[in-house]
């Protein structure tokens, strides 16, 4: 790259679903979603909202897990949107063995399934447990921590849409500051959710020293699939935290789900990284950083921060500081570093 050239270098970027099925890529590099033999672990006919980020994320993740496990996979689901919209009695959109027990016990149930498979001599059957942010960071927290501490052989995936969406958009411990929810209404002096200390589930997972922790986004399909695949190659407890925008709860357009997921990463509020045995080992670099406003503005749950002539500069500054702090902490703006 020492030669100066009048020609502009053309850079090919992986830009998520835009390149699903890209015929310029060789088969091995194509996404699972682009392949004819993807398992469709969740098939069509489910009742998710138009533009549902969770349906997308779950499909991406489970098809990858199915490929990695060569079809030998069982899914355990916590109560929540995913569970409800995939199993409207008497139908199910699951094409893999699937168990829903309760809201707070998916990790423990998965532990039991994994143990049973070992006892029955069916070690090749892998177990994925999944839940929303409510089932993971709140009501299921105890069971999840227990699973991590025992290093049970389960991949736990959290689909984080930052509130209890299934029951009508109530606040969870994953709800970001200032966000409007049904229990943190945009009223009074401090509209929306409190500016609290937060609850960083990926860091909490890392603190348990489990073999693999990662964050992923529905805006970066290849990255998400690679992380699921890597997780499936490791035994012990693994945790993947996927941000999944919710058009209904976030007040965004259904066609904007992937764009908003990309903006969350680009502004630094949702850092992409991987950790092994409690240490960060890889981070996803932000190529084109954006101010947090660009991410927040398309979501009506933050509309009260952008009232005409009355922009809440103070709160926006705090949110920007949070993003900047993530960028620093996870080194999201390294030049020339491998991502």
């Amino acid at each position: 790259m020492t030669e100066e050239s009048a020609l502009q270098r053309v850079k090919f970027y992986q830009t998520g679903t835009h390149t699903v099925g890209n015929r310029l890529m060789d088969d091995a590099a194509r996404s699972v979603q682009a392949s004819m033999d993807r398992s469709n672990a969740i098939t069509s006919g489910h009742r998710a909202c138009q533009g549902c980020g969770e349906a997308l994320g779950a499909r991406y993740a489970l098809d990858s897990a199915m490929r990695a496990a060569q079809g030998q996979l069982v899914a355990v689901n916590a109560t929540g949107c995913l569970e409800v919209f995939t199993t409207p009695y008497p139908e199910t959109s699951w094409q893999i063995p699937w168990l829903h027990s309760l809201f707070g016990n998916a990790p423990a149930v998965a532990t039991g399934v994994a143990a049973a498979m070992r006892r029955k001599g069916r070690d090749k059957v892998k177990v994925v447990a999944q839940g929303g942010d409510g089932g993971t960071t709140d009501i299921g927290f105890g069971c999840l921590s227990g699973m991590f501490e025992r290093n049970d052989d389960v991949l736990y995936i959290c689909y984080d849409n930052e509130a209890y969406m299934n029951t009508g958009v109530q606040r969870s411990s994953a709800t970001p500051p200032a966000a409007r929810t049904a229990t943190t209404p945009a009223l009074g002096d401090a509209p929306g959710n409190v500016f609290g200390t937060g609850k960083n589930m990926p860091l909490i997972a890392m603190a348990h020293n489990i073999p693999y922790v990662a964050t992923a986004s529905v805006a970066d399909l290849h990255d998400l699939e690679a992380k699921v695949t890597r997780a499936m190659s490791i035994s012990g407890s693994r945790y993947i935290h996927i941000m999944v925008p919710c058009p209904l709860g976030w007040g965004s357009a259904p066609c904007d789900t992937i764009r908003i997921a990309r903006l969350a990463v680009a502004c630094g509020l949702f850092p992409l990284f991987e950790a092994e045995d409690g240490e960060v080992v890889r981070t996803g670099k932000i190529r084109r950083p954006v101010p947090v406003e660009e991410y927040l503005k398309p979501q009506r749950r933050f509309a009260h921060l952008f009232k005409k002539g009355q922009e809440d500069k103070e709160r926006l500054a705090v949110i920007q500081r949070m993003a900047d702090s993530n960028i620093r902490r996870f080194r999201l703006r390294g030049e020339g570093e491998d991502s």
Partner: protein, 422 residues
Amino acid sequence: MLKQVEGSVAVAEAVALCRPEVVCAYPITPQTHIVEGVGALVKSGALENCEFINVESEFAALSVAIGASAAGARAYTATASQGILFMAEAVYNAAGLGLPIVMTVGNRAIGAPINIWNDHTDAMSVKDAGWIQLFAETNQEAVDLHIQAFRLAEELSCPVMVCMDGFILTHAYERVDVPAQEEVDAFLPPYDPVQVLDPADPYSIGAMVGPDAFTEVRYLAHDKQLQALQLIPEIASVFKEVFGRESGGLLHPYRTEGAETIVVALGSVNGTIKEVVDSMRAEGAAVGSVSICSFRPFPLAELKAALAGARNIVVVEKSLAPGLGGVVASNVRMAMQETPRTVHTVIAGLGGRPITTASLRRVVTEAATGDLPDVHFLDLDKQVVAQEIARAKKTRRSGPAAENILKHLASAKSTGNAGALS
């Protein structure tokens, strides 16, 4: 093999003989020695092909069992008291999903106030969750019921809890015949699931069911328990053939022929009751007793038949429905609704208070003479209770009731003036 051994240890051995594949353990008095016993058997290799998982709560314990059972493994856990409440959501879930989990309940009171001693509040708190509930009278029966329980659970695809009185049975050293592995293997075949998570034949378990089908699903749960009414005596009968002794079944009548007064109870207190029956019979009183072994399903027809000849029925129970009276007594009354008898409720043994032969004799005598009130708290210290009620009436900020009662008792002891007004 005959052993003089702690009840918990005998149960641990019995459970191990049933070849469980996943055992999940969370400690709570008085079941701890059971799960410790099973854990030691796994760790030493005596119990093969079994995973012993130390979980972080009772809720997790039963949840692990749910996952294991749904994946085709024979699963077991144990709990008591507060633990059964902490896992209550999972208790209903396991029954609703039809998973043949076996669980020991070391019967213990439920707080507040916190109390570690025996009564039946814990089992009663989940009596209508859809589990089969069997009550052991002795440590021998506790051993035998666990073996029967696995077979019963798996034939019906319904979870079974085996209840044994905390401390009285769990921590008592009694002579117990622990069967041989070959005998248990002959009686209990490997678990053949009705439903199982299998990539080769995938289906979804645990879907939401709406108003259009929920009643039917619940009716089937009721029907399953009615089937158990047939199956429990059948299994007890096969057990007798294989192991050579009577154990389990729906209920055990004792000297009820010609009895005018019959005492009905669950669990270990039946031992004391039988002694009272024997001594009163020796004096010419026409008394008998019935020990209910299967509380759920409740043996309405069998109980009605066993109590048919009696004029007075005295239900001695270690449970209370505050504001109503007896829990077991209410169930007994249901059995007698077509042939009304006087059914007395005697609330006894709460929080581990000993039930003496003298007190039992008194209530049985009073029942026969018509002097026993409908609901009677055995050996209640009426003075202490009256004092506390009066104190609470006098002052708004009267303080915590339990602590006040303890103070009354302490001061009465020190002044030697039991029951003196403060």
